[in-house]
Amino acid sequence: MFFLQSTAPSPTIVLILGTLCMFILVGGIIIFMLLHQRKVEGHNKQIEQMEADHQKILLNASIRLQEEERQRLAADLHDDAGPLLATARLYLNENLINQDKAALLQSILQTRQIIDETIMLVRNISHNLMPPTLKNFGLESAVTDLFQKISGSGVVNASSRFHDYQERMNEERELIVFRVVQELINNILKHSKSSFIHLTQNLQDEKFFIRIHHDGRGILQADFDRLNKSYDGLGLKNISSRMRIMQGQISFERDISQTYFKVTLELPKADPNAKLKLRSN
């Protein structure tokens, strides 16, 4: 009743209160926006810091891997090529002293055999650095070759199928993809105890996909992320770095049937770094 009896507020009061409320509202909006921006900036800084830390871990991993590779190369040359060449030198020295023709011939043949072995060894080392199949015939042939070799062992049934690979990627990208596949297969062979590995390649929405299925013990995305942030899992960090170079993504999951483990590599079809390279040239 009181409200019914009371008179309507005067327009002046409505005007003052309304305008005041409007000012408070607008002021609130501005303060909220500015505070929100500050919060977002803080959050972005935090993300940048985390990214930098992760980058540092990846960099350390790649340096460690590079050092390991150099050590392996040095060991291959020192332990295998070194003794072979020393033996060949020994035979040649003996030829200088030994005047017997039959012994000389025997010695030359042995020297030639040793040199052949050394050539084979050097070739193997160089093939490890850059597989000739990959260079000459492309990713599809190199992967098929790799899988045939694995199948040849009789322990694992490995097969690959490239659906949309009529046009080759550039050499650099092919090598990176091949190294990632090699590392993944290496991990599967080393840790998963699987009896079956299957690789498929296809294109979808301007994206290049490689999917690897295996029936062994695999890892899931959470494991990959954890290992990627830790100081272990050098190979996985290396995969991560390579995918980053190509601006691609990698995911680890179980397939729909929950029977197999699936690794998916997703890359942009066109080289995202090509523009930058062109610009830097």
Binding site: L15, M22, F23, L59, Q66
Partner: protein
């Protein structure tokens, strides 16, 4: 005084864009409107006021149209702008205006404030934009302060006495000054940063991989 100085800075920097241009047109129009307001015949003043409200609405909505990225919101702006123009034609031809065209001003304020809020929400969603350094943010805040600060005055103007109109009318000058100051600040920000910032190529640092 401030706007011409800002335009001089813009001119010296040789940077032109549609939004500062609209602000310029708006500034000149406001000046001319106020300058010739008293000279306009009283029986035709309602057309003058309606034209001013419509023009102001169109300038603000065009600025917002170019600011907002969402295509859906842009279509909504176009739709309501058309409705508003139709409404203005009907209003001016059918209704008697006492002091000011209060209803169109109220509708204009609600519509523009809604567009501004959707623009601010868009800014909030985009975590990359530092909106305090974005000149459009300050333009929109200026418009919002101006419209909201004068909203109740224009709505209630017919219910106020002459003395009250004169007293509270000064309040609209304050919000106008704030709006013009913010427009000036935004133009200075624009002249410093440029409208179309060149998008820097995102170069992701990647670890050096030699042999591996």
């Amino acid at each position: 005084m401030l706007l011409p100085v800002c335009y001089l800075i813009l001119f010296l920097n040789k940077k032109f864009s549609i939004i500062p241009l609209l602000l310029g047109v708006y500034g000149i129009f406001c000046f001319l409107f106020l300058f010739f307001f008293d000279a306009f015949p009283l029986d035709k003043i309602k057309y003058y006021q309606t034209f001013y409200t419509t023009f102001e609405y169109l300038i603000f909505s065009t600025i917002l149209y170019f600011n907002i990225r969402s295509q859906k919101t842009k279509k909504i702006i176009l739709f309501f702008s058309l409705l508003f123009i139709v409404f203005q034609v009907i209003y001016v031809s059918s209704y008697k205006i006492l002091r000011l065209d209060t209803i169109p001003i109220g509708i204009e304020t609600i519509l523009i404030a809604s567009y501004i809020i959707s623009f601010l929400l868009e800014l909030l969603k985009d975590s990359r934009t530092q909106f305090s350094k974005h000149y459009c943010f300050w333009i929109n805040i200026g418009i919002l302060i101006y419209l909201c600060g004068s909203f109740f005055f224009y709505i209630l103007i017919d219910s106020l006495s002459r003395e009250e109109v004169l007293a509270f009318g000064k309040m609209t000058y304050i919000v106008e000054i704030i709006k013009n100051l913010l427009f000036g600040i935004s133009l200075i920000i624009f002249s410093k940063a440029g409208f179309k910032k060149e998008v820097q190529e995102e170069i992701r640092p990647a670890p050096y991989l030699d042999i591996t």
